[in-house]
């Protein structure tokens, strides 16, 4: 398999075919088969920020780089800010590339938070890039991104209901 970039033996072909068929079945049957793409994420981010510049820095997105179970992935976002009445973090938005929708969660905080940090747990459908964007009280946007490798994706298993 050294010189030819894509050589499959029969087993990988069969396994892949099974995955493709299973995936296609799940997609065809699910209510809304769409899947977000990096373009959809950019579009969602554009909708949030408008034409404003998104600066890198001040935001720390803490998410494990390797996740075994995509059904519950802990993440923490912290933003550097004095958190005073005049200068505070107003909103934190988190986006993803490959879930069915580009949004994960949005948090609205304010000067009374004292500390601009929040944590939650999300589902990730695939290995992908996650972006957190904070909107400051002065209207500026700051961001941080992280790559996550997911070994078992959310959404693939069938519910027991």
């Amino acid at each position: 398999m050294s010189d030819a970039p894509r050589v499959f033996n029969r087993r990988t072909l069969v396994t892949r075919a099974v995955h493709v068929v299973a995936g296609a079945g799940a997609l065809a049957l699910s209510a809304a088969p769409a899947r977000a793409t990096p373009d959809m994420m950019s579009e969602a981010i554009r909708k949030l920020v408008g034409g404003a510049k998104v600066n890198e820095g001040r935001v720390t997105l803490d998410i494990p780089p390797l996740v075994e179970n995509g059904n519950t992935v802990p993440l923490t976002v912290a933003v550097e800010s004095p958190m005073t009445e005049k200068d505070y973090v107003a909103e934190i938005h988190i986006f993803n590339e490959k879930n069915p929708q580009p949004y994960l969660v949005a948090a609205y905080i304010g000067p009374r938070a004292g500390k601009a940090e929040f944590a939650t747990r999300v589902k990730l459908n695939d290995s992908q890039h996650i972006i957190a964007i904070a909107r400051m009280s002065d209207g500026s946007f700051w961001s941080d991104g992280a790559d996550v490798i997911v070994t078992i994706a959310a959404c693939v298993e069938i519910s027991e209901q």
Partner: protein, 106 residues
């Protein structure tokens, strides 16, 4: 019935930054999965979570279907006054839950 857990320090000094943790039992069915029979499972998620304290909404989160089942949220606030913190979750199919916690600020 829905079970919600909130963790708020019972006492704090005025001006201290306290951490609040919340957890609620909810399937957060994304609407993108199918059941054993191949039938699509209808979306059933919590859409918003908020916390009111000392006369104002101090925290609001908007969830997407990608928030994990049994949503956990932790956030911070400055202890300003003794009183009640009111936590509210609202979602699909008329889902509503409320939980309160008392804090003594000295």
């Amino acid at each position: 019935m829905t079970r919600a857990l909130v963790n708020v320090p019972a006492r704090a000094k005025k001006g201290d930054i306290i951490e609040i943790k919340t957890l609620i039992s909810h399937p957060m069915e994304s609407g993108y999965r199918v059941g054993y029979g191949g039938e699509p499972l209808k979306r059933d998620i919590i859409q918003t979570f908020s916390c009111d304290y000392d006369g104002a909404k101090i925290f609001l989160a908007q969830f997407s279907p990608a928030v994990a089942a049994n949503p956990f949220v932790s956030f911070h606030t400055v202890a300003t006054a003794s009183g009640k913190l009111v936590f509210r979750w609202e979602g699909d199919n008329g889902f509503e839950a409320e939980e309160t916690a008392e804090i003594v600020v000295e």
